[in-house]
């Protein structure tokens, strides 16, 4: 709801990136979410990441489904085309958009209801197809717009604001994304911007399906005692496996770290992910080990965050389909229409 127009004026000394954009140029309209909503922090992190990466805002397409999370694309990247689609169906719309023009950056924003319940199928299939996108689930374990029902990511035993207990087994989208072959998998927390921003940056530079499950407490319906998605609970149980820096291009790594504490991963586009290890022996390029580790720590009651898995040699749907370099939406008659002579020849073969 566009009640308040943000002033276009800003302080003249606001820093600009190489393209000459200020951080404000990556913002959208004023959020209408509840004050303190975790989702607004994620929007801010997206703004920061796009500013840091010096992306032309109009070359990003932001797509979402339905729900509080899916409203957020209005609140960032105001110069980008946005598409607020159908509940649970953002992944297919994003897939189609991506097929039409491989040159844009696709940012899919969804929620736990949107992706783990009504849209579980589309979530799964877009991941397994390797659509080149950043898929962020703003996970609060609750249906906010409809006033506080459990979602499919609510933990068993967690309590609703009214005191009802959830007896259903939760769906862990991170586990699913790993199983389904996502080539970039991360979990973060909306209350930890220092962790989240580099993860979004890394996901954007990643070539393939990049999935981020971002726990984002709902201050209105799921921030009470007994909830496992409250600010307090997540802060207490958050165990990061690594801290990430994203280095664009082939910049030299100068910082000094004790041997064995830093791992670097060079991605498809040359960007370097530098990971400061927090959990010894955690190898984010070993998918099977990652799945095992996550299961073990989950059983121990920890919420594991950080860059959980990355495949530096990832491929995407366009690679699989072997499409031409030029975006399909830019091909004209000459490239698309075989013409009258070919048709005459075809007619002759049908007699």
């Amino acid at each position: 709801m566009t009640y308040i127009t943000k002033p276009r004026l800003h302080h003249p000394s606001l820093p600009t990136n190489k393209l000459g954009y200020t951080r404000r140029d990556y913002e959208g309209t004023i959020s209408t979410l509840c004050a303190g909503c975790g989702h607004d922090s994620i929007s801010a992190a997206i703004v920061q990441a796009c500013f840091d990466l010096e992306l032309p805002p109009h070359r990003i397409a932001k797509l979402s489904g339905i729900g509080c999370s899916s409203k957020t694309p209005t609140y960032f990247l105001g110069s980008s085309h946005g598409f607020n689609s159908v509940h649970g169906r953002m992944p297919s719309v994003l897939t189609g958009a991506n097929l039409a023009n491989k040159d844009l950056i696709y940012l899919g924003v969804s929620g736990d209801g949107d992706s783990a319940s009504i849209g579980l199928g589309q979530f799964a299939h877009s991941i397994r197809r390797g659509v080149n996108m950043v898929y962020i689930v703003e996970n609060n374990g609750v249906y906010g717009l409809t006033k506080g029902q459990f979602s499919a990511t609510s933990d068993r035993g967690s309590k609703s604001k009214r005191g009802a207990v959830n007896y259903d087994e939760p769906i862990d989208l991170i586990d699913m994304a790993l199983l389904l072959g996502a080539s970039f998998v991360a979990r973060s927390f909306s209350g930890d911007k220092a962790q989240l921003v580099p993860l979004i940056e890394a996901a954007i530079t990643h070539h393939g399906a990049a999935f981020i499950d971002c726990i984002s407490p709902c201050v209105a319906f799921n921030n009470h005692e007994g909830s496992t998605k409250s600010f307090d609970f997540v802060r207490e149980h958050n165990e990061a496996v690594n801290r990430l820096d994203v280095i664009m291009g082939r910049a030299e790594i100068t910082a000094d770290y004790a041997p064995g504490t830093v791992e670097t991963v060079t991605q498809h586009d040359g960007s370097v992910l530098r990971l400061r290890k927090l959990a010894a022996d955690y190898d984010p390029t070993d998918r099977v080990a990652a799945m095992t580790y996550l299961q073990e720590r989950h059983a121990a009651g920890e919420i594991i965050t950080g860059l959980l898995y990355v495949d530096p040699d990832s491929r995407d749907l366009h690679d699989h389909l072997d499409t031409v370099a030029q975006p399909l939406n830019a091909l004209g008659e000459a490239a698309l229409c075989p013409g009258a002579a070919a048709l005459d020849k075809l007619n002759a073969s049908l007699r």
């Binding site: 209005t74 039409a100 499409t323």
Partner: protein, 612 residues
């Protein structure tokens, strides 16, 4: 004993086979050899929803007069399936012929005494000539084609040519097939009595082509510039997606890099299929999906989004018999209402009704232009009869000067020059606003697409007046659609009449044959073939000009008639439904009988009942 049927170039041959037995290609060679003799045929597969072992039939109507609809009745039954023996035997017209495998002796009581029985020991001949079980099976089909060539006087050189074309590239198969053909032909010439059904070379085919509607529609999408296709397998539309891929491999591979100028996604369901189409079209690619009734049901929510958010989307609905799974391998025109008003809320969509594969091609390409121009979903309403059967139709034509109509799209230069952009702003009264593709301009032309109500500048609003304005504009857009979509085709009676008939789609050939038959009985009807919805004024005028209109359809509830009543405010009493919906293609005999009896005319000559 009835008099044996005697006819030249005008009879029906029906093959009863087991599916998965390799009969389809032999039967196709049979039909095409007749076309090569210059005699029109129409063919229909009647098949089960099964892979192997169940009964399947192939009907070939031979008509030098050029009647391409299903006739009904059988003059010569080629009974190759013991499972359906009784039913096949019963379906032969009195005086007709039964061709069967006589290897195993059958008691005379197995047969009818009013038909002519032609036994040929096919299995015995095969077993003598071949040792391999698969060869025995496959060559048996070619052997009966050889025997039929002898019985019906088919030019065997035409069959040989066709075998050569069919096995081109697998040349070592040509000689054994030709041998099998002659094995059958020689046996028949030596042992079988001549019959009353004959073929004679004619010149009635012209430059027409023989192709199925699904392939034709797919080709239309290639010519129309579709680059993204998303689909989910469902009979009877699957072969359209497969044909699109086949044609893309032939026509859409970059000659230098060998890379694809197309993207095809077999989606996880029909919801995802239409979602991909909407996403691609929103982003400026031409996109389509093909499906059938159950898929249309699943797409409802998305279709409402495409209508309201004004995104081009092309949907090919190859209709089959519903509701629910219905008869998945039988034909109907039963999704007219489901498509015309698809989704919740007030919606209305553009439908196109191709009459044959030629129009499947034309309307396939046109639908992509229309969807871009109107920025709305466009449905091309095929059915199983057109989609999955080969039809004889006019050759495809294309004008190389033709350009893709991408509709109202603001370019970088438009935006840069300061042209006003309001995504839902009607600047020239046709109801169609301008759009921009994502990524066009750094600071201008971006907008938010949503299924919620909005202002002309794409801002969310729940204000009643803005909502109503927008809904009214969408109606104006559909008025514009009437001018752009294919106009109805009038076929006037030879003399003035107060009776008219409205028909569409695959009913056309049977309707034309029925009109001729009715005329012979002194019943004159002006006929109007509807080619699109929303209905043009010409259709309303046609109804006004006549006292009584028959609306001929292939569904139970007279769905097009409902649309006429509802959308054009026509008095229902004026529109008399004529409905065939048993899953078999409508016949001229049925239409003639129904209209004659509705008009209380003298009964036409007794009809031979259609029994399958």
């Amino acid at each position: 004993m009835s008099k044996p049927i005697a006819s030249v170039n005008d009879f029906v041959v029906k093959f009863a086979n087991v599916n998965g037995s390799g009969s389809a290609s032999a039967n196709l060679v049979f039909a095409r050899s007749i076309l090569r003799m210059g005699v029109p045929v129409s063919t229909r597969n009647i098949f089960p929803s099964n892979i192997q072992g169940l009964p399947t039939w192939y009907e070939v109507r031979i008509s030098e007069a050029g009647h391409l609809g299903r006739r009904g009745g059988v003059d010569l039954m080629v009974a190759m399936n013991p499972q359906t023996w009784a039913q096949d035997l019963a379906s032969i017209d009195p005086g007709g012929y039964l061709f069967y495998d006589s290897t195993k002796p059958m008691p005379p009581s197995t047969f009818r005494d009013d038909i002519n029985v032609i036994g040929m020991p096919l299995t015995e001949i095969c077993n003598r000539a071949y040792t391999d079980a698969r060869q025995r099976q496959l060559f048996k089909n070619i052997i009966y084609v050889g025997a039929l060539a002898a019985l019906l006087d088919i030019d065997v050189a035409e069959i040989e040519k066709l075998l050569g074309e069919q096995f081109k590239g697998k040349d070592k198969l040509i000689a054994p097939n030709r041998d099998a053909l002659h094995l059958g032909r020689d046996y028949a010439r030596e042992h079988l009595e001549p019959i009353g059904l004959k073929l004679r070379r004619a010149d009635a085919v012209g430059d027409r082509i023989f192709i199925d509607g699904n392939s034709a529609a797919a080709l239309g999408c290639v010519y129309g510039g579709a680059t993204v296709a998303a689909w989910y397998p469902i009979t009877p539309s699957t072969s359209m997606a497969e044909a699109f891929e086949r044609y893309c491999r032939r026509y859409r591979v970059d000659p230098e890099t060998k890379k694809a100028r197309y993207a095809i996604v077999q989606a996880e369901d029909e919801l995802a299929s239409i979602g991909v189409v909407i996403g691609a079209a929103w982003n400026g690619a031409r996109a389509f999906t093909c499906t059938s009734g159950p898929g249309i049901s699943l797409m409802q929510e998305f279709l409402g989004l495409a209508y309201f958010a004004e995104i081009p989307a092309v949907v090919f609905d190859v209709q089959r018999a519903g509701p629910s799974t219905g008869m998945p391998t039988r034909t109907q025109q039963a999704d007219i209402l489901a498509c015309a008003y698809a989704s919740h809320g007030d919606t209305k969509h553009v439908l196109l009704f191709p009459e044959d594969p030629h129009e499947c091609f034309e309307m396939g390409a046109a639908a992509l232009d229309l969807a871009d121009r109107l920025q709305t979903p466009v449905f091309v309403m095929l059915d199983l009869d057109i989609g999955m059967n080969e039809w004889l139709c006019r050759p495809f034509a294309w004008d190389d000067k033709r350009r893709l109509d991408r509709g109202k799209v603001m370019t970088f230069d438009d935006l840069e020059s300061g042209k006003e952009f309001g995504r839902y702003l009607d600047v020239d009264g046709d109801g169609i606003p301008y759009r921009t593709y994502p990524g066009t301009h750094p600071t201008r032309g971006a907008f938010f697409t949503r299924g919620t109500s909005r202002t002309p500048y794409a801002r969310y609003t729940e204000e009643g007046a803005a909502y109503v304005d927008n809904m009214e504009r969408l109606l104006r857009k559909l008025e514009t659609a009437k001018k752009l979509a294919p106009a109805p085709v009038l076929k006037s009676a030879k003399q003035a009449t107060k009776h008219g008939v409205i028909y569409y789609g695959s009913t056309t050939p049977s309707m034309h044959e029925a009109l001729a038959a009715l005329e012979e009985d002194g019943i004159y009807l002006d006929a109007l073939r509807v080619r699109s919805f929303p209905f043009q004024d010409a259709i309303v005028d046609f109804i006004r000009r006549h006292a009584q209109i028959f609306v001929v359809e292939q569904n139970r509830d007279a769905q097009l008639r409902c649309l006429l009543v509802n959308d054009c405010a026509i008095d229902p009493a004026k529109l008399t439904p004529v409905l065939n919906y048993d899953g078999t293609p409508i016949t001229a005999r049925f239409i003639t009988r129904e209209i004659s009896s509705l008009l209380g005319a003298r009964k036409p000559a007794p009809l031979r009942e259609v029994v399958r």
